[in-house]
């Protein structure tokens, strides 16, 4: 809700006062390299995936340059350790069968070039994804279809969710998380706002939309929530900062043990 609210408040100002956007060049520093870790474990097979890379200068290309030769281990609550192996793409470490169990805590340990990074994450309970559907709303750019996700929040426990939307197989890049601070125990019809309010992002007839529905633990929710604070480069935060990581050892990124479900619809 926060994200949509800030967009709604800011947008009219820019609309009515005819703003102009222009690409400029800016001389930015290049900070010392830092490791970047993106570690996921789901309740489905093939969901264990860890990618390791490094930060790079602003003017370099955006392609992924993986860090090879890392030792990546995930340990379950019983102390069983599984090593993820490097896939054919450098810097991506996977396991074909490893999957997590809801309500279990997992430990991640990564050793790379003499540095060690650790984290743990608890996979929450599954909350049933009931429906994914389009619903027309008229905000500041006229009627448009917004994808909505329906689920019933379990009463009395803290829940954290993430919604990942794909349009015709392409991730929309809209990072949308929510908790149940205001919705504990309710039937929720959660809106998934588009990344940008542009003509292209409007859903059209025949578009296939898929939403992945994740239940997260609180530190992972905090990571995605704090992405709003400038990690994607926009927004009006007075003090942009890196997302709050749950990995110890001085890296950027997160370790998320989450459950995942998905549903699709086609725009009629």
């Amino acid at each position: 809700m926060n994200k949509l609210k800030s967009i709604i408040i800011l947008f009219p100002v820019l609309l009515f006062f005819a703003s102009c956007e222009e690409v400029i060049t800016l001389d930015l520093n290049t900070a010392a390299e830092k490791y970047v870790i993106e570690a996921n474990l789901t309740d489905k097979a093939n969901g264990a995936k860890v990618t390791i890379s490094k930060t790079k200068s602003f003017n370099s290309t955006n392609d992924f340059v993986g860090i090879t030769g890392a030792v990546v281990n995930i340990e379950d609550a019983q102390g069983n350790t599984t090593r993820l192996t490097e896939s054919s793409t450098k810097g991506i470490y996977t396991h074909p069968t490893l999957k997590g169990l809801p309500k279990s805590t997992y430990k991640l340990k990564i050793e790379v070039n003499g540095q060690t990074f650790t984290s743990n994450s608890t996979m929450p309970e599954v909350v049933e994804l009931e429906d994914v559907f389009p619903y027309e709303l008229s905000l500041f750019d006229g009627p448009r279809l917004f994808t909505h996700v329906r689920y019933t929040d379990p009463l009395g426990i803290k829940n954290f969710y993430r919604f990942i939307e794909y349009k015709n197989g392409v991730y929309t890049k809209s990072i949308m998380v929510t908790n149940d601070e205001f919705t504990d125990g309710k039937l929720v019809n959660q809106i998934v706002p588009p990344y940008e309010f542009t003509e292209e992002s409007k859903l059209k007839k025949g578009d296939k939309v898929k939403v992945e529905f994740l239940t997260l633990d609180e530190p992972v929710y905090k990571y995605w929530f704090s992405v709003e604070n400038g990690a994607q480069g926009g927004g009006d935060s007075a003090a942009p900062a890196n997302p709050v990581s749950n990995i110890k050892g001085g890296v950027l990124g997160y370790f998320s043990a989450h459950t995942i479900q998905s549903k699709e619809y086609t725009v009629k």
Partner: protein, 773 residues
Amino acid sequence: MTFSSLKPLLILFTFFCLPTFAQQTYNVSGTVRSTGDAVEAATIHIIELKHRITSDSAGNYSIDLKAGQYTFVISAIGMNTLRKSIKVKANETVDFELEDNANKLDEIVISTARNERSLASPQMGAERLSMKAIKNIPLIFGERDIMKAIQLLPGIKSAGEGGSGIYVRGGSADQNLILMDDIPVYNASHLMGFFSTFNPDAVDDITVYKTGMPSQFGGRLSSVLDIKMRQGNADKFSASGGIGLISSNLTLEGPIHKGKSSFLISGRRTYVDLFLKLSPDSTINQNTMYFYDVNARADFQLNENNKLIFTGYLGSDKLGLAETFGLTWGNSLASAQWKHIFSPNLNSSTTASYTSYQNKIEVNTGIDNVRIYSQIKDLSLKQNYFWQATEKNLIKFGFNSIHHTVTPGEITSQGQSNYNPINYQERYSLENALFASSDWQASEKLNVSFGLRLSGFSILGKGNFLNVDPDGNIIDNTSYKSGELVKTYINLEPRLSLSYLLNMQSSVKASYVRNAQNMHMISNSTSSRPSDKWLPSSIMVKPEVSDQFAIGYYRNLFDNVFELNVESYYKTMQNQIDYRDGAETFNADNIETQLLYGKGRAYGLEILFKKRKGDFTGWLSYTLSKTERQIDGINNGDWYNARQDRTHEIALVGAYALNKKWSLSASWVYYTGDAITFPSGKYNMDGQTFFYYTERNGYRMPAYHRLDLGATLQLKKRKSYSSELAFSLYNAYGRKNAYSITFREAENDPSKTEVVRTTLFQFLPSISYNFKF
């Protein structure tokens, strides 16, 4: 003892006691007024006696003089000095009428009035600006907005393009005490800050204190903005108004009882949304965006010794997106003031007031219906006494009590909704202050003002109060009963100012002031948002405290045609508050878990050079300053530049009276870009590019500069009707100043990243028609 050793003593004796030496003394008393309004703190200098007295809050003065001929020189901030010869041969009443020196249409005068009075007065860091004075300054949308005009003065920085928020001497936007006829205003902006709450037609003047705040003011660290509403004309009815592109206003005023009581009512409404209605695009014409405000004031002179003043204000902004989303916010203010004269030497003013700022968000999507409401509400009583204890010593004292009620958020829903109703705890507190000050003419050249303010902030139940460890974890949560005292913070705030007249043209001054602040607003966005909330001090949130030292040099040049002020200050700030990274700010009950505390410092040099007389008037202001913060948990605990740290800031303002019909004006501003956080790298994450930030505010926005032009055409002027056309052009050379700078994957090549600058307002013309009859 020889005679020679007695002589100096005798001279001294003579000098100090001259008035009482008179064999036959008479009392001369009266009132100092300006266009019907009492002038407070006017200086009355009796040249022959080298003696000064000051008028009280009702403009009254009184002095005993022996028979003879005297020259009275009466001066006040923002008024033309009046010189009058008076022959005293009996008790008599002599009233003085001062002319506002901003009065002339073709002349911009900022009324810091570096005349005799202000050179000698220990008050420093204060600027008075009258509505009449800013009439000709070209301002955005053609609105004669007083909050924007003061941004052209040294030490006062704009909080953003076109905005009415200000930063004073390194303080943040919430550290300004904004008073409208002594009523605190919590949100001084309309329309995201592009308009201020103050209707130009209802405002008389503003006095800004950047330091040396008189002890009757307190509760904010950086500044006091003392805005006075206009008093209605007690002699005849009149109407005035203006029709502009964005807003129109109408003011009616006149006597209720001729010569004794008056009223003034002034309304204003914007009609941006009417243009929206014209849009053929049904998606736009369903939206609403407007604000209105109404000011009202009534003055009743009951008798010689009693006066009652009632002031009211109601304003509201409304932003709506079709039927789906609505945002409404506004202030409501009301006050009653009683001015009473006990004796020629003692009088008082008593003010009871109510102020409220409320904000409501409504969402109704058809499958979701929710309303979020928040409010801050104050009830306050202020008592001021003015006592002319001796002819060289004016003592002011009194108290101020404010009861605050903060409603941080109530969520309600109707019908189908995702949301549970939630009421965050209301917070109650009582803010009390006792204050006293003495303005003492220590010698012919030395003036001293010493004041003390004892402020107490008592947090009251009912409610739960958190104790939080440095990592933001809750240690304990204590419950308090209704009305139970949770904690009291006491602060002793000394205020000291000195002035020393070097000669009749120049003086030096020095001051020290401490301020404490218990109502805080923390904002992590760059724009002023109606949803920004005020947070009272709590067990964890300590009062903010600032100490400021300042020195200054003041000089009049070329027969007072020019004046030069130079001030320098050093300020420290304690218990400054900021959000943790990734803070969730909505849950008011747990807000303390999201906060970090630290300190700040600011120092600078401010120069104001002004031409006050002639066909061409104007000023040049320059500020050199540094503002830093140090907060554990931000920037590795190292000092960093505050966002409002701008090294250089220049404003050049000029007005030229071309002839009787046309007057022209221009202003040019330049400042170093804000300190800002930009990325120093990037990385792949989540299938997209994320930006990597290293140090807080380690970069600068591009330098900002802008030229505005204005012209006023006086149309036919008759005795009963006059009108004018005012033209302005904002950003006349179309400088593309950065409103924001953002980073993204390049639109035409996602393998690259690009920097995008957003610019508002290039060449923004406006025209308005103003009338008066």
